[in-house]
Amino acid sequence: MIRMQPSVENAQTIAESDAVAVERTLAGDRDAFRVLVERHSHNVFRLAYRMTGNRPDAEEVVQEAFLRAYQKLGQFAARANFGTWVYRIAANYAIDRMRQRKKEEARKVEPTVHEEGTENDPVTLVHDAAPTPERLTQNIELRKQMEIALAALSHSERTAFVMRHWEGCAIEEIAQVLKSSSGAAKNTVFRAVQKLRLALQPFVGRGTQARAMGTES
């Protein structure tokens, strides 16, 4: 699981410093908001990219999330965590963006190809055996299947999976974004993993066999 959580002390320092920046922004110091944008942009981008699956949409989500956060800053309780709050705004906007995108591309059957080339092939990051031509083909195939499987999830399933599995968000936080109960949010995480498993198990199994074969040869 890839989670980039700051340490407890670090998180506390950031939250305190965020609270000061929020107060200064509310007092009319617009540049104070810049600190918040520069501090949280990377995290929000990571969430947005995982939710939307492509860079242009993710960048749009980041910009929109900070714009909305600025506009609604008056409603934000300064003692709460700004990072969590802007994260939630981004997740909500990413859902809207995914809906919009799905509508635009409803008739496209082929999944979007990642802008990164095979040099970033995810499977090569975990497998230590030397790549064979068969493995390389299967790795590209596996990555394609993973993208298809993620794209096939409903917006709420993808949101719940990204927020829980990759971003380590609490179920209550996910429930707030999905506007559902905690129980329903938990079920959505479960449904997402179950669907991903159903779609990817055959390919992952094949990859395992291929790895064994590759090592032997």
Binding site: M1, G28, R30, F33, R34, V37, E38, R39, H40, S41, H42, F45, Y49, R50, R55, E59, V62, Q63, F66, L67, Y70, K72, G74, Q75, R99, K103, A106, R107, E115, N120, P122, V123, L125, V126, L142, R143, M146, L150, S154, H155, S156, R164, H165, I171, L178, K179, S180, A184, K186, V189, F190, V193, Q194, L196, R197, L200, Q201, V204, G205, T208
Partner: protein, 262 residues
């Protein structure tokens, strides 16, 4: 030995299992469940290798440059949130209920009506009328959704975005009525509204364009919950209650005419 379900293992893996210790103890003793968990792990580990591009060290600065010209001089004040369309709609519903309750309250001052309708009956009637209309609109949306079809034989997907937007609006209202029903101690009504809320949530969380198979699933969910039936039954009950709580104008008229005669 009773094995763990897939749901329990996924919940355990994702750190959301209620009985974490029980599952951990079972896993320590059960090879079969351990193997099943490992299969789940393999899929999730493969997904973890999907890369996220690095937007660059100066990304935060670039975001700021892009949004800074679009930022207003000052963030909006907290009270301005009350003028957002969704809030205004909710405030509108509350205002309607309050005005209706006020009018009902004023009519209570008429001593002739005191023996006809109690304060509680009038308050109930206000809720009954408003919820009855809400249920009617919900029923209509669900029926339309159940009957949705692709526009032509060439179309593979069904556009349910209109129903979805209506479901979003109904969801806001539904929450308000469910809370009011709970406050009024009407557990049955609150329970049906709770069921309806789950269905509305399902609809709002579905894609805007669905395949016939996905649409069938939504229909099955609606059917499985029996929500249309429940909504109709409660709707009829509310109509009956509305009749029962209605003041009897005939009595008033006869008394008034007697007074006029005198």
């Amino acid at each position: 030995m009773k094995h763990m379900t897939e749901e329990e293992l996924i919940a355990y893996r994702e750190g959301v299992a209620a009985e974490r210790m029980v599952i951990a103890q079972h896993l320590a003793a059960c090879e079969e469940c351990r193997a099943e968990l490992e299969r789940i792990e393999t899929v999730l580990a493969a997904l973890d290798t999907l890369p996220v591009p690095n937007p660059g060290d100066d990304y935060g600065r670039r975001v700021w440059q892009q949004i800074a010209p679009r930022l207003p001089e000052r963030p909006a004040q907290w009270w301005q949130a009350w003028f957002e369309p969704k809030r205004l709609a909710a405030v509108g519903i509350m205002a309607t209920l309050l005005v209706a309750a006020f009018i009902a309250g004023r009519s209570m001052r008429d001593p002739i009506r005191l023996d006809v309708a109690t304060k509680e009956q009038i308050r109930e009637r206000v809720l009954v009328v408003a919820v009855g209309e809400h249920l009617g609109r919900s029923e209509m949306m669900l029926v339309e959704l159940s009957n949705a079809e692709p526009l032509g034989p060439a179309q593979k997907r069904v556009d349910i975005s209109a129903e979805q937007h209506r479901a979003e609006d109904l969801l806001e209202e539904n929450r308000l009525y469910r809370q009011t029903a709970l406050k009024e101690g009407d557990a049955n009504l609150a329970s049906v509204l709770d069921d309806l809320e789950r269905v509305l949530l399902d609809v709002t969380h579905s894609p805007e364009e669905v395949t016939p198979a996905q649409l069938e699933k939504i229909r099955q969910k609606i059917e499985a919950r029996g929500i249309l039936f429940k909504v109709r039954v409660v709707g009829r009950e509310l109509q009956e209650r509305q009749k029962a709580t209605k003041p009897a104008p005939a009595q008033k008229d006869s008394k008034e005419s007697e007074r006029n005669k005198a």
